[in-house]
Symmetry: C2
Subunit: 345 residues, 2 copies
Amino acid sequence: MSLYSEIVEQPGRIKSLLASQKKTVEQIAAEIRKRDIQYVFLAARGTSDNAGRYANYLLGAMNGLPLALATPSLFTYYKQPPKLKNALVIGVSQSGQSPDIVSVLAEGRRQSCLTLAITNEPNSPLTQSADFLLDIHAGREKAVAATKTYTTELMSIAMLSTALSENKKHWEDLQKAAAWMKEVLKQNDFIEQAAQRYRYMDQTIVLGRGFNYATAFEWALKLKELAYVKAEPYSSADFQHGPIAMVDSGFPILAIAPKGRVFDSMFQMLKRLCRDFSAELVVISNDKKALALAQLPLSIPVDVPEWLSPLVSILPAQLFAYHLTVAKGYNTEHPRSIYKVTETK
Amino acid sequence: MSLYSEIVEQPGRIKSLLASQKKTVEQIAAEIRKRDIQYVFLAARGTSDNAGRYANYLLGAMNGLPLALATPSLFTYYKQPPKLKNALVIGVSQSGQSPDIVSVLAEGRRQSCLTLAITNEPNSPLTQSADFLLDIHAGREKAVAATKTYTTELMSIAMLSTALSENKKHWEDLQKAAAWMKEVLKQNDFIEQAAQRYRYMDQTIVLGRGFNYATAFEWALKLKELAYVKAEPYSSADFQHGPIAMVDSGFPILAIAPKGRVFDSMFQMLKRLCRDFSAELVVISNDKKALALAQLPLSIPVDVPEWLSPLVSILPAQLFAYHLTVAKGYNTEHPRSIYKVTETK
């Protein structure tokens, strides 16, 4: 049962990542400061792309850095890569193998950009194409569905942001992350029971906003990969621009709504879904009002700061996807039709 | 029946847009050339965001401009906008009303960036926050689901790209677009009949890649808004990184696969879905091999160039969504729960 044990070992992995890579991250930050970096150009696929979504909000809000998600086919099939002047080019990949992600970093280097590989494989082709390596130190991930490589990618990005801002409070928050994660994992038995209710759920919507837009995408991806649930992620804003038309009574909506700047907007949406649509709600939050709206409330510690909440809020989501997969009788280790390393061009 | 007539009037709108805005677009291009623009920062929601996805590929491939899709909540809720030095800031909005899109343009102006509004409402707040206006000249759009404002937004972006590259062949292609679109609309009666087969389809996946990644998103959005089908868009590459696990025998997959640089990758994926998964395929293409794999082949003219194919390939997709909505007995003019102008922050 690699998947379950990999979920449970995450607090320990986060702790050792923080201890072992702090100096490396500070060296990378020093190099970034030396250059005239005007934006970040980030290439990733699947789970790592969701870590990139977190970077989009975090580096924007904390470090003033706009972020463009790369469109790898421009580098591979079209062979018409854009001009990357003054960009910091980042590739994020657990395996460091996917040729399209490697080609974006190689092109960044060709154009004399500063390049950074965030990966679990220090000896991968991705690392060889990069000026700097941020080793996520997750240990070997055996389950096909990524869990600990996602949270260690998030942590790596959070450390990079903190090194850039030299924000002491943020370094302290990072020290507390492992304990918050441990606390959340105590809900395992409760989530195992609660997941039974969703045995026959075959489709759902996952809502998140701001920093937790990434969490919505990653929760949906786990549900698709493992439990074969058609789960579609949305920001609560985009959801109102059309897709809300799909919702009818009893439709299951999953949401990540911790306290913070976007809480009110998420809470108003959840109230509307509850009152006007009679939707079924599963809510991850540390706010009592939001949890009270849910048929299934999943709580995270009250003192988790919003900027770091994605690292903690994905844990109950992973446990929910895991136990739902077991309840549905599917294989948690080797989902059908997908492989650990997917080599796309 | 505004929606149907708005679909049908698209070739005429495209033609008049090209005639009336060519000079404006050339003025904007001249101003962009004068500045040291290093990337594009684009804000949009819903259908306009899908036009932004086209801009991402087109401006990247043809004009060497990387593009970052804005995360509006950083400007509104978080009040921590990134530093936009040397960015061209573009807002795309049919109504020009949504406060979050307006706030991105206003911040761009505050930071002395060049700002451009692409909108159907010359007197909107969006226009007032911009240095330049590209009026999409779609005429009033009455149906809640956007069709002609999508294709005129695509055309505006295609004209801007062509003015920037001063590519004569591309100007000629643009002149032919209206005729190609007219040709495709002749399939209306065929699509009306064919849509019956999908009366009880309640979920689907839409695949597109490269320039037609945008078409996949827009087709999925029309199906969600109008026919309440849970339709999820993917690039064929991202689809392999997990979500393909959901597909079982008979599962309906819609795909946009015109001839061009990414055709082979799309074709391989379609063959695999047909052979290994026994999926039901609806394919929009101008390649006979790809059309032959489909239960429902929807053809576009054989000489449409790949870079401009999104403008043509969305038409059979719109007609399919329209006729499916009629077949399901839903309201084509006023879908439940959504409104023409959605004001999100």
